[in-house]
């Protein structure tokens, strides 16, 4: 069905431990199902560093969330249909990096670790079609995924994107 690009622009992540509240604007993005039955497939993650300091190791983690975001606002993110001629479905995914209740990263459900130096470094991961990361619904541990910095390092500014599909 509809394929989207979720971008985040010039975000300087804060390093957070698992199961602690992320804070608004200090993580890349969250991607939450728009209802209890929405299925999302994540096929690509990219982050490019923009830090001015040469020591900006950033331990970025894509993980499921054990607390999901509530009253989410876009902040420094944007979600756009990849197909310019496409029509958005009636219900779309919830995306953003700011919220009244921010998510908490699960301690066990880390999906992808992307460590890089945000001073000139970049990371890109993509899945073969049919091998994407799945999420379902909009509840904890299954219905929301976030991209945030893990404890350690000194994360620097970065921009990037996540390609996903509403199934």
């Amino acid at each position: 069905m509809a394929r989207y690009s979720l971008t985040f622009t010039s975000v300087t992540p804060t390093a957070f431990a698992d199961t602690t509240n992320l804070t608004s604007s200090n993580y890349g993005f969250l991607l939450q199902g728009g209802n209890t039955t929405m299925q999302i497939k994540i096929s690509e993650i990219f982050a490019g560093g923009e830090a001015a300091s040469s020591s900006s190791p950033s331990i970025m983690v894509l993980a499921r969330d054990s607390t999901v975001g509530a009253t989410v606002t876009a902040g420094a993110t944007r979600s756009a249909l990849l197909d310019a001629t496409g029509t958005a479905p009636g219900t779309t995914a919830v995306t953003g990096n700011s919220a009244t209740t921010n998510p908490q990263r699960s301690a066990t459900l880390h999906l992808l670790h992307l460590s890089f130096n945000a001073y000139g470094g970049l990371v890109r991961w993509f899945a073969r079609p049919g091998e994407e990361i799945n999420q379902i619904g909009n509840a904890v541990n299954a219905g929301e995924t976030s991209f945030s910095a893990y404890t350690g390092g000194t994360p620097g500014a970065m921009s990037g994107h996540c390609l996903y599909e509403l199934v």
Partner: protein, 112 residues
């Protein structure tokens, strides 16, 4: 005929124009030593039982878990579980169970 390698994704970590990250940070994150320097490229596999992305280590000589039911590689943790239970828990099964539970008005947790 598709090969097992046709399931592979791709990871690029490019520090060509960057000081990179030391092994003390990249190795605990699951990357091989030296991956934080220069350009690192690696095939990946997405475990069909839990969606974790696994870096394929070409030097690994231990057996890699494989589910003959869904015809996919698994991460080590799901490989152990499959060995004990013999049950395939691939994404389509988990999602179907989840949707059935939602239809019954339950609040399922489908992940391990």
């Amino acid at each position: 005929m598709a090969s097992k390698r046709s399931h592979e994704g791709y990871l690029l970590i490019d520090h060509t124009d960057s000081p990179g990250v030391p092994d003390s940070l990249s190795v605990p994150a699951g990357l091989p030593a030296g991956a934080g320097r220069g350009k690192f490229e690696c095939p990946t596999l997405t475990c069909q039982h839990c969606d974790v992305v696994v870096l394929v280590n070409p030097k690994r000589n231990r057996e890699r878990a494989w589910c003959k039911h869904c015809d996919h590689y698994l991460c080590d943790a799901c490989g152990v579980e499959l060995h004990h239970t013999g049950e395939c828990r691939n994404a389509s099964k988990r999602i179907a169970e989840y949707l059935a539970a939602v239809e019954r008005g339950e609040h399922p947790l489908i992940l391990r």
